[in-house]
Symmetry: D2
Subunit: 323 residues, 4 copies
């Protein structure tokens, strides 16, 4: 595993941490974007988009929509419109046709950048060697393509903090979580790269259910963005009531950003995690050696528990910063 | 799935339930045998042995030893000495070289029956159509061979109540539990047979840790068999302290027998469970459709929770019946 | 690999070679039976039947039919009605609904033996240690079940001479030949058993096309059985004209028997052959290390070429012995 | 499958066909380069290099060396240094440590272009929509990366004519040919792209053995390049004598270029070819539906036979054009 010297200096000096948020909005992606852009601890170099919850055209438009709602100026780069090897899957059943059903969505006035997301990732990592943290909260296609197109970035990535996978049960198949299942081969590339890696999987994110009383707190902010979040969560809730009998939806993707802001909210441990990229019943599984029975080297810091109240307090505090 | 009329009559009339206990003793197998043979609710037609924790010669000898310790007269039949397709694995690291390390083991005076376990299973199921419950607490090789050698038994098996698998994390690989991993192809045959099936997997059996205070209760019985159990559990504990940081060993196999005696101690639900019998990271996994995302028909009643105190009370009460 | 002393004595003394012909008739199976039963070099201990070209009930009936046509008295034993692990496939498209379409089929007067084929195989191999050659020309389910039910037969089997597999292209998938594909797990057991093994695969059997002029030679015998063969081959031709654009069908299964009678007709070589028993594009492939690139030990004598005229002369000569 | 209008106009007007030769020199790659650069029918837009026979640094240097030997000015672009997903393999055992052992190799005076091969491929295909033929004679990593980084190129590629795969036996495993095995996932992307595809696999290229008398013809040209070819073939011969017992090496990669120059020398047919990208015994196999048993649509024109004398005459004539 690579060691990056930049890492420690930045922390010491209180310099905001440079991140690229790679996403497929998506309700929880939208909240992850809000959390990142509201936080002075992070310098969001750019938002990159990828196929996933819905097609690339829509995830990119949704990123523009969220930026519009927030009134922020971060650049947005569109990336891969399909997985590396497997056929594309998507999650309209969960996120609605647009990928962001629920609130009224304004027509974005801004534009997507002309540069490809993969080129943007490569450029930024090489520009700030050892300083850039990648935060993928969708399929890992962009990150994997960047690693293969320009392998010199691999030792220069400070860290990858991702939402994806599960150490127990999947959500899209019994074995696999949606983000990883969307592109298991990309995941195999990323998990095998030797980059410091933090995984926030379903086993953790399923602890962050947005119960109605939590949703009410966002609405109680009395702000436009607070209402927007509440409406996102109310739509997102429906699927989870039906599928899981839960009284709300987990805010998966925000966990990865929250970990960067308040690692102390999370209990994690290092494990070996391998990706099953062969087709079959476990296609797309993040095979986590929880009991350390394989003798394989730990390669991933895995989120195990989150202080859910702390998580929601952080989220509320930051969302409250928007008008 | 087959319906067996015998099933309901027996219950109604309080006739003891006919079972064949198929095992690979093994510490927890030994306790499962004790529990079964002490219980008037069960008529143990025979004990059949199979390769598994240790080689067939030793699991068979261990069955004889346990019968000797208990002073019971149930017939014992040796079965398959190797898995159907894959190479044999074993668990001397957990159960010791003999497979039953810990207590002093008497030299058995009795003999194994000349009939092959597979023939015994076939014979009994055809003799008592719809009445025989199979209780496999080792690799499923014998049951699978019986089903393929004489497919007419399949609709005549009352139920299969097995220890094996897991709905979350495995113990022999990150994906697989030992019994199923020993012979995934046999498991695929059994789980695909359409027979009423109850699975007590690690997700449940790991709830039954024999803490020192629980072990002390067996010792406090002041009986020879109580001491024997305590010594089994003390040896069995070592591996689990080291591997899992638990203060004792789970008594996996006894869960299957306890379920037959007191189903009310167990919370279960019907799921689709498929076996991954293709080699790879998930080889031997019991892929359980916990969130019902596959559309595949439920084929297995899966143990989810056990009333652990109730379980130990039952075990104590029954072990206390031995001298 | 096991060495059998019986092997060499028998040859020396001109004692007929004891064989069990395990088959799924099937047109070419029927001709293999005729060839075997007409040959004084072979002592056919019994014919065992297995699911395959058509269901077990029909393959067994067809064996009875062929015995009836030939007026012979060899015992027939029914075996496995389904593969070990995978779902059953069959080949009515090639062999017709009955499995033996073409000639008029008499109603057999004889009966199948009550003993199961697997038990018969075990019994005979143990009765004549080192002397019995198994000749499977259908799916390998019976042989595999016998090996697992009674592993002591493994070192006592003189040799297995089978029809199945291919070193190049399959016939039921691009990768797999029908017999092996019917039960790849059984094939993996048999090819991994360490028994002397001869494989007559499609790469060889496709050399034995029964062109119309060859069929005419059978008809020209002017016998009932000669006509029966001709009618079998005429029906069997249809599928092969359509699928392969050949002017006749290969007589696959007779190659295995012919090899026992006249090994000099065949060019063979030792290779490592492994069975792909994992599902996927190569499921059921006999992976033959033709260029010796794997470093794996040769375990199979693979038929490469046959003197086709010699083969047909032998066949004609033997078929001519029947009325 | 996409239809490209450019295709037919070019042919009609005798405009040289625009190609990009994507290679991993490699002895036979070197000869493929020579053949392409000597031929007025082809406009070689550039040579792109990829990991394969040896590492990228060496394959790139070897491309520079060959250009130096030929005194040509085609631009050379370095591409991927590793496969998409699997670990890198290489073939020093066949091509020597440098990848081009045998002749004296001059120090190249020219430089590799700064642009990445993948970007060059994308740029050229988009610049000449429907006109560019890709000729990959190494692992398919560059082509696959280009397709995923810029999917708009896919319908604009005129054709892909590749050396790789086999319809029968592999050379690096029993199932797989080296180029495809180097990056099966890239191959799956390319074979699944819907682009017109021609595959020259081992089943064809193994017909082009450079027997000593053929090598002698190159030497007899009395030219520097003729000698260079002869020395390449003499070194390349060694491995093939040992492994295959052939009296020379096949000139695999030149077949793809020769097909573009004289398609009439080749017998081909359309088949469905799928890539096995799951690990196992058939990893990297080009599964060709030769007997059309799958019902899958043909997606590849597969080379079956080559007029070997015509092939060598063409090669001689073109090599003779160099000093
Ligand atoms: Ca997402
Ligand atoms: Ca057990
Ligand atoms: Ca047959
Ligand atoms: Ca090459």
């Amino acid at each position: 595993m690579y060691r990056n010297k930049g890492r420690f200096w930045c922390k010491l000096l209180g310099v905001p941490r440079k991140i690229i948020l790679d996403c497929d909005p998506g309700h929880d992606d939208a909240i992850a974007i809000m959390l990142a852009l509201a936080s002075e601890e992070l310098e969001v170099l750019g938002i990159t988009t990828v196929h996933g919850n819905v097609g690339l055209e829509r995830t990119t438009r949704n990123a523009l929509v969220v930026r519009e709602v927030l009134g922020k100026s971060v650049p947005i780069y569109a990336g891969a419109d399909r997985p590396l090897v497997r056929d594309r899957i998507s999650a309209e059943a969960v996120h609605g046709v647009s990928g962001l059903e629920g609130p009224h969505l304004p027509t974005p006035t801004g534009q997507v950048e002309p540069q490809h997301a993969v080129h943007f990732i490569i450029e930024q990592v090489l520009r700030y060697p050892g300083e850039v943290t990648l935060v993928p909260v969708g399929p890992l296609t962009n990150i994997a393509l960047a690693m293969r197109l320009e392998p010199r970035i691999i030792p220069q990535i400070r860290e990858i903090v991702l939402m994806g996978g599960s150490i127990d049960i999947g959500n899209w198949t019994p074995s696999a979580e949606f983000n990883i299942l969307c592109d298991p081969h990309a995941a195999k590339i990323v998990f095998g790269a030797g980059v410091p890696l933090v995984m926030m999987g379903l086993n953790l994110t399923h602890q962050t259910i947005a119960h109605p009383e939590r949703v009410a707190r966002f609405r109680a902010l009395g702000t436009r963005v607070g209402n927007f979040v509440a409406e996102l969560l109310e739509f997102f809730r429906e699927h989870h009531v039906q599928r899981y009998k839960w009284d709300g939806a987990p805010i998966h993707d925000a966990c990865a950003v929250a970990y960067l802001l308040r690692p102390g909210l999370f209990k994690t441990a290092m494990f070996n995690v391998e990706i099953e990229a062969n087709e079959g019943l476990a296609f797309g599984r993040t095979v986590c050696d929880y009991w350390r029975v394989t003798g394989r080297q730990p390669n991933c810091e895995v989120g195990l528990e989150v202080d859910v109240d702390g998580f929601y307090n952080l989220l509320l505090e930051r969302i409250a910063r928007y008008a």
